[in-house]
Amino acid sequence: MIKFIVRRIILIIPVLIGAIIIVFTINYFSSANPAMIKLGLAASDPAKLAAMEHAMGLDQSYFSQLGSYLWDMFHGDLGESYVYDKTVSELIAERIPNTLRMSIGAMILSVLVGIPLGLVAALRQNTAVDYVTTGFAILMNAIPSFLIAVVLMIVFSVHFGWFPVSGADSWRSFVLPVIAAGIGPITQNARMTRSSVLEVIRQDYVRTARAKGISENRVTSRHIMKNALIPVITLIGTGLGTCLAGSILVEMIFNIPGMGMLINSSIMSQDYITVQGCVLVCAVVVTLMNLLTDLAYGVVDPQIRARYAVGSGKRSKRAMAKAEVV
């Protein structure tokens, strides 16, 4: 199991390098000249511009620029912002707590609300409860999070005045953004749970459990839910990615200084090195979440757990065989 985790963490590295190469390449071939952005008005002097280009390494080839960026990246240096007088790492460190608060809040909300909704809908299949829940889920899934954010803001901040309209000063500022970013994942979790439970409910082992005389509550919690949640776990994992993406728009609407706002303003001011850093951090978060998802699979499904253990064993045997051949 530990072998499996280590192997998976090592496998994250090529994924990150891939993501960085793509973003770096797009930036490299874009028309913007970082030295001009950094110099601002002083860029009109060709001598100064040339000096700055040299200082930033812009006169070197694509590969050597990419190489030095990757080299710095592995040493924890994401470069300096063209616009702000700060390093990219500092900018991200300032902004990321707000974004994580929102995304993780939205994810927790989607689990706490979405799964029970789906379960109730499935257990009361084809009743009013089911129709209302499923209808709500389909409707909400179709509405983008930024629209929900605006509606929530108008109703609860402007009209009722229960929550602040913007900013990130207290926990109250996060209530509406979390709901807005969480609605999508809630509906997805609800629908996935519903269909998964409906499938499990018809399985023979549920009938075996009922034939033991145990209560319906116990049948649901121990036999139905344990099995039905396996596919839902994937969705929860990828849900964090959705929440991150959703939070970019939601942050802008609620004016929360987070990664979303940073990415947006950096794109606007052509501060591409900051964009690159943000993409890298998001990629790290998403890949780590995927790893956690895979590990969670192993916890709930003994068959997959067994495969993890066997998988690493097999690989080492194969490696040994190879070594012998060589």
């Binding site: 018809r202 399985q203 023979d204 082992y205 009938r207 075996t208 459990a209 009922r210 034939a211 033991k212 005389g213 145990i214 209560s215 121990r222 036999h223 344990k226 099995n227 396996i230 709930v300 499904d301 003994p302 068959q303 067994a306």
Partner: protein, 325 residues
Amino acid sequence: MSDLLEIKDLVIRFDTEDGSVHAVNGIDLHIGSGETLGLVGETGAGKTTTALGILRLVPDSGKICAGSISYKNVDILKMSDKNILDIRGNEISMIFQDPMTALNPVMTISAQVMEVIERHQACTRGEARARMIEILGKVGIRPERVDEYPHQFSGGMKQRVVIAIALACNPKLLLADEPTTALDVTIQAQVMRMINDLKKEFGTSMILITHDLGIVAKSCDSVAIMYAGEIVEFGSLEDIFDRTSHPYTKGLFASMPRLDVETERLMPIAGLMPDPMELPLGCKFHPRCPHRMEICTTDNPQGTEVNYGHLVKCHLHTTKNGDMD
């Protein structure tokens, strides 16, 4: 002596979008303490539905429309939900047909067996575990394997676990739904021997659902032949095997391969079982019956006692004019 279980005029129907499926159509059955009753019939005859009806586990789309199932003189169908839970797995338990799907894939074998013990017996966790190891040992699963998961066991081993769950609380009545159909022929005999031994040890009654007349001959005291949701012939093992009366039962025996008779081909019963959504009028078997008479197409025959305890549902035996072959 009164019977342990007596089913009277049981009717079970499934309501689907395409119409009603008449799965069980007014059957009568009785079984005494320690007896084994064989319930024999083709696939789709309503055998499993009958057994599920006894435990009130007919799936949601199904409905028990009429009849009574009295267990120790109490009607199971009129019991409160709580009382039926006390009976399931404890007084009456069931061995399910397909061992590959009958066990929960995410729970260990030990947890699945202990669950039923802890539910019905006042005991500590340690005692429940000891009992679990004992019962799994009886079905031939070694103590060091009990904490494994179902996917780590073969089909035959899983069937043993299913049997252990059914026997864990020493039930008075065991409903064995084709306990050996999904198994290898070599394992079949072993499992049947094991069920019979355990049954003898605990004095359990059993309803053995099967389509294998060989198994019936070896383990049953009485036999009910089921066709299209009805019991067409019921009697002691000797009645059914030596004094076979219903044309369908005769057909079943004729279609069985035999070692002592030289035949070129087996003699299958012509035709197929009727669609339970559109059962024929009159006797359900008449479209396939070689002795069909005028009356068979219009009137459903009543059960007639051809000799003591041997009931046959066939016009050949009710009508005096029916010339027996």
